[in-house]
Symmetry: D2
């Protein structure tokens, strides 16, 4: 008998259910006796021992369902060792629950924050397997994370919708795309939707270059311009500030995002009407796209296989179109950014896309 | 030889191209000689004589295209008789251009503002036929306007996306839906997506009732609540203010929409995390839905027939599933609102939806 | 305490779950004690007493789900009074189960065949309420049936997909659309997708007129033609045959549908390559469109209200945008066809669409 | 001045326009003088000198458009050296037109057949750059072809639609997926849609194993089974036949595809109702998915760069997420198949999917 704990942590995204289904189907199909303990609402469920026993039926029909059947929460601690408000040591609580339920392994689905905690639990001696979930695609050690392509699809749809309005009204439209501190999502959705300007955190932008591009388009008779802006985009000026100074500046903004500031600057310099659209949380929702369903299922299956082989301490990742195992200590705390020299960026520039640099 | 002028005015929406294609195909198929003058960017094109001669080719392949091939603008005058910044009398300018081009008729596609001007031109002696375009469905004299169902589809998708995230995180989500001063769009998108609370301008809401509903859901174990809020929604308190006082209050808001104010109130009273999503201009964009394509084509065909019959001064509307002609003077300046007693509202209440009243 | 039986019968379609949810939510929200008995696989469940007790939980999250949670089957009898293979009188069996479970009412969701049986049960003294479900929109007494608009959306998508291929290859493409014996689905999907020729059962076609239209398009430089053909379309020649003769002819066809025969005829007469696409059962599947979700929810709510008012013997229908009750005896056995003189057909002709007549 | 010829050949697919836009935007943005000659309807345009001069305007707004703006045709010769019906040597004709127009290079977008001809033209001394277009993903030398992911999306949607119907009616559903002689499309769409059985050409199936899986599902209470069948799937028995014998057998089939034969066999052996759905050409149509838009744009940009660098004789391919150049002689005449031992197949089996082997 194998006892497997499972939890999803951090912001939800598409294909979490597909990935969990992949793990569980693989375990059940192995012919071995398996018990699945689903912890609710991320690490909270493990800390406070809130869980459900799951059976095959629970995983039927969830391949195409968005969200996570287990619920999730942002990691509920700044420092994981810190006691909670009742003085409970959270790491100790998780360990105790793990041992009390006689778990053979924890399967943890999450992004960067989640992986730090997962690695800590591994260091504390628990058997851990992780799966790379995030619409940001910013996890180190894997070419791809599930949720990403689904989010690209939704953000692209959003910009496509805006396109017809922008063209009809001869306006500048800014669409703010998610992606946390990296530009993967914006870069791909921007290229997919024919955005004229793409601004990402890895390439701080010069407002003059942005304005030049808009005015150049107007001169050539394209009365409108579409700008895809990453939520983490930053101007060259702001990039020179210290982290502390920048935080202070952000705190003073009425809108926390850079988009409205950018809109104001463009409107002031060009006199053209600028509109901002922020699809926001929509980008995490809905049914996973076919790419993500296949991808998450594959990762889930390989995670199941690792468990059957008693191989722990890995994130199941993807490199060169093959599923690979990546040691957890290599993943935790690192960020996979868009290199300003990446070929995809060079190609986008060949196509005439302006990055403001 | 018939000379037909055509223009689209006001905010763009889906199926404008489909409707114009319907008019033009009908005229061409009649076997009569026809010249189509497409005025650019709404009434501006007519005032300043900016137009394109259009041929059959221009209308090929546009049935499914969003936006408007002619461009559009909000009516560029407060009072239409007012001179522009160069002292030009705009109404006179439009009349002169109409007569100079020896037009037989103007086909005008637009919403409420557009219809006021169209009626004025009719009073001035021009031959006018209008088509009811707006995602708001607030035009008097017609059961339906094109753009509406397409916008319902997009707004519903948006709430569907949010649904999975809301459920995964046990949050309250407010999705702000367009619709100007009426609730049609929010009511339909809210019902279609299973929103728990729907707030529309026609039914001012009591914040206590909203909070009660959220807390009732939590008691019953549904950790999340979805609220569809019309951009024009208003609280009972604010509804008691005079127009002037309310405008003053709005002007003081950081966010012009009611959604953020509502979010703050709910968070304060329930302690539950509340998130706001504003799909915004996305709701006007993209390819028209099949319903709108058929509907706009039908209206366009009937407008073409009216022209062939030399029948002018009408909006082509839709009542009881049949296309009808409505005298322009009956349409202009009226608003079609959701009656708080409408059966669809009663039915929504039977389903358990809270309107905050 | 009210005991309500519920079943879905006939071909499945979109929004069956939405409609059932509407009924049940209305009953539960009434504050009265209610028990819901869901009979499985259509009338079979009622005949053989296969059912599930359903609770509020079963109806959570099904608004957007395609298919039917109760399963369905085609009416399993030619003559309902006929005994089954074990000599069981099916009508008697249904009555006995109805009384044994002390039901107050049966809610039956179905199309034409289903309504005949439902009316028979009413005549036998059972309390029956029906809801008009069919992608064919051929039910008498209601302007609209749920499933229809969702099927229009899918069929339109199918033709849209084919459009790009047809245009790229300069071919004639026939897309066969469902709709049983009527043309509503084909007419709407054809108009929505810009089909050049639409062939429906109500307007028998002359192959010469079809070929003329194709050749006329070629002369004008449109190298391709899209034909939307209803599965029940019929040529003028075949329409002259007696029912028996036509059935014989159909039986000899390799492909039961008219599309392949039509394709061969066109290819022979024009020499142009013709391809046939049959989306088939896809048209009944997937999540209901927003229109159908609202519509089915409204009908369900009104059915719930009828039950609370002890009003039985009605189909809940839709006329002039309002939900109405239609006596079952008026519905059963009638067909709502497209009139060849309907204004929508006239409008389609104004747009240049050829019906082959 | 650079003179670039461009043509699309073979079955059309999504993102052909996006790829051509990528090439042309890169050339125009280089600041060099460029003339683009678009040959119509594949190699035919080059043979018979049918072409259009294209300008920047022609490439505006086509990123999201399906099909090919140049038209296409299947390679119009069995042996390319063969004279056409008027005795014209086609290869010579293409060479002459190439030199007459003083072309610097031909950009050819196509699949396997197209690449054989492209390589021949290269051997004849023409400067050729190719781009890998096919929904089959069967081109050697590249991990991915554009059109593939869009087709996966459509085929997955089709199976998703069928899912609700199959579940509601307790039937077996066969969905026939395109893919020519390889199983990539079926494998991915099948995994994405949760198909229970996937049959591909590379893994001949044993009908007994297929039937066992269906019966096993029924025993476990899943009343329905979804089978994704590649159009090139083959039974173990048929795989033993010589090519000639198999062709003979195919010729005798009423339906050329294996699906109907398979359906009959299953129905006979299980008694369960089996339905076949063939989405067919729909899979090549419609707007490219965001993945394909980005991917095709990237390949197009790199093709443009090769031209600017005077590098010819390559297919622009994709390996390990980077765009690469592959010598044309290495590509032509080879097929990229699914290995029965591929990890993705192993993973699918871990998930419980039956391949009939």
């Amino acid at each position: 008998m194998r006892r497997i704990g499972m939890l999803t942590s951090g912001g939800d995204c598409q294909a979490l259910n597909a990935a969990m289904r992949g793990v569980v189907k693989t375990l059940y199909n192995s012919g071995q006796q398996v018990e699945i303990y689903g912890f609710l609402d991320g690490y909270r469920g493990l800390i406070y021992s809130k869980f459900q026993m799951l059976t095959g039926k629970d995983f039927s029909g969830i391949l195409t369902k968005g969200g996570t059947m287990l619920g999730t929460s942002r990691t509920p601690f700044k420092t994981i060792q810190d006691p909670d408000e009742n003085g409970l040591n959270k790491v100790e609580a998780m360990k105790q629950n793990y041992y009390k339920l006689q778990l053979d392994c924890l399967v943890i689905l999450g992004g960067n924050g989640t992986h730090k905690t997962a690695n800590l639990l591994r260091q504390e001696g628990l058997n851990v397997i992780t799966l790379p979930k995030t619409i940001d695609n910013d996890l180190w050690g894997t070419d791809m994370t599930f949720g990403f392509q689904s989010a690209v699809d939704i953000a692209t749809d959003a910009i496509d919708y805006i396109h017809t309005t922008a063209a009809s009204h001869s306006r500048v439209f800014i669409v703010e795309v998610m992606g946390h501190k990296v530009g993967w999502l914006t870069l791909n959705a921007g290229m997919a939707s024919g955005a004229d300007i793409i601004l990402i955190p890895e390439i701080p932008y010069d407002i003059k270059k942005v304005v030049d591009k808009i005015e150049d388009r107007n001169r050539k008779g394209s009365g409108f311009t579409i700008i895809a802006v990453a939520e983490g985009a930053i101007s060259k000026e702001d990039a020179k500030l210290s982290k502390k100074e920048y935080k202070k500046k952000l705190a003073k903004r009425i809108h926390p995002s850079v988009s409205y500031e950018l809109a104001e600057a463009i409107q002031k310099k060009t006199g053209i009407e600028v509109r901002v659209t922020v699809p926001g949380h929509m980008q995490r929702g809905g049914s996973p796209c076919p790419y993500d369903r296949v991808f998450a299922s594959r990762l889930g299956a390989e995670a199941g296989k690792l468990i059957l082989d008693n191989q722990y301490g890995f994130m199941v990742g993807y490199r060169n179109r093959e599923v690979v195992r990546v040691p957890l200590e290599d993943v935790a705390g690192k960020l996979k950014e868009v290199s300003p020299d990446a070929t995809i960026v060079q190609e986008a520039k060949l196509l005439g896309i302006c990055f403001g640099d």
